[in-house]
Amino acid sequence: MKTAEPTIAEIADIARRARIQILKAVAHAKGGHVGGPYSAIDMLATLYFRVLNVRPDEPDWPDRDRFVLSKGHSSIALYTILAMRGFFDMEELATFDSIDSRLQGHPDMTITPGVDMSSGSLGLGFAGALGIALGARTLGKDFTTYVMLGDGECNEGIVWEGAHVANRYHLDNIVAIIDQNNLQQFGWRGDTETERLTPYVGDELAGRWKAFGWHVLEVDGHDIQAFLDTVEKARAVSGSPVAIVAHTIKGKGVSYMEDNYTWHSRVPTEEEFAIAMQELGDTKAGER
């Protein structure tokens, strides 16, 4: 059961507020990831507030759409959106990454309401999602499975094993969203001392998915209306699996983090935190 549909502007505001919560959680935990969650958060907000047919008060409802965050290191982004959507209390975000918390560093399906598949060891969530989709077809269920991968994650061989199998089975009840922010944690050194080369150059990544038989759509992952339209298009495709290659900016939303690979996983200083809160329009800026 979806909530009353929020507008595009309202989803943008949800994502903005989520960015604030994410940084607060990471600062509080003194650990976690920021860059990847920020590149993914506009899409996650759109999925959970406009696309996914889920019931926050009945997280295990069998006919729900499934979502798997295969890029599991962006867990805090998923937790934040799940909390905002009502799967658990916002206060629980403060327990992120701590002992006995339901919100572990990487998603754990056994403890967190709304997490459909454990993930974090890269590429594995994708395989799990494919299994959900194939199982759903076997059981005659008509929900859709969405899975989000990082572009760096697509280094993993298991991703291409799965891409191959999905094509053989013409799995058209799964939508893979590739968060192509063009930076991975440390990556390959470029020509200059500080340059880090992208995981995939130009349209190489989209080309790979096409070469594996997937129907590929491309979109700006921060343009909420465009993303929503692209998801609709993806759901209309039949006979082949669909990959949405979403072009995003790592650290999107905070000036000094954008396109800076060092913000893959980093805890902000007091000063950095204050600047971020101000840029994100937190009315209680600086309160950690």
């Binding site: 399906m109 598949m117 454990s118 060891s121 594995l124 494919l130 299994g131 194939l134 199982g135 094993e161």
Partner: protein
Amino acid sequence: MTSLAPGKALRVAFGETIAELARTDPRLVVLDGDTGSSTRTDFFENEHPERFFQMGITEQNMLGMAAGMATLGLIPIVSTFACFIVSRAHDSIRVLIAQPKLNVKLMGGYAGLLAGMTGKTHLIFDDISIMRAMANMTVIAPADEIETRKALPAIIDHPGPVYLRLTRPNSPILFDDDYEFEIGKAVTLREGSDITVFSTGLQSVRAYEAAQTLATEGIDVHLVHVPTIKPLDVDAIVSAAAKTDLVMTSEEHTIVGGLGGAIAETLAEHHPVTVKRHGLQDVFGESGPDAALLEKYGISPSKTAEAVRETVRSHKA
């Protein structure tokens, strides 16, 4: 000594039984890693093609997809060579199956030293050590076709992941048709007073034959078959060890961490006695005829008898 009647390979019993169980259990699905004609999931494919999924040669993906299917209430049986399940797809099993305790059954065919002239790349005999070290995992190694048939319904009924270790060759019949398999229970194959031998898998047949031979020489072996290596039948193991206060373990598996490791750990805690571990030493395997490999690597029936003799002799000395 009466020799045991010939029987089918465990993988054949496995293939026939899962096809049969699927007639009444719609939750069963099979995922095959392009080895169905070897691990004999072809019986299942022929009878239930709509529930048979060819995953190709994508073991990491195959184990992950099985996990996804299990979240929907299906019971996936994943089948390929043991080496590719246990070592190649280890991370998928650990993160997606064992940690969430999903109901996936892992069938590692071709475990042990004998894999049909394939050589060391296709041999795995540290699989018991690896799988029993993984939390939430149950590890079962049947000895013959009867036990394989009896074990499968129990494995399907058992909630959570199970690693079923099957060896490739035909196995003589060790059990009667009325044998009752229970997960976690050890079985006494022979009462004896000089030494207790614990064995598992097809090696139990060789140990049984060795015990028959030794009886004619005046060495009275108490033989206990341990089909469930995890969870171990601690009470049965302690009481059997207490009968003789001299123990040997025997397995078609490395002596590092497998059945021998499990028994030694248990007895060290509960009933310290001398434990001699018999099995494959710290080696990798090679190609060759089965009988010659068993001799060279020291686990044939005659070599097993020799190991028992040596253990008894050195204990008395």
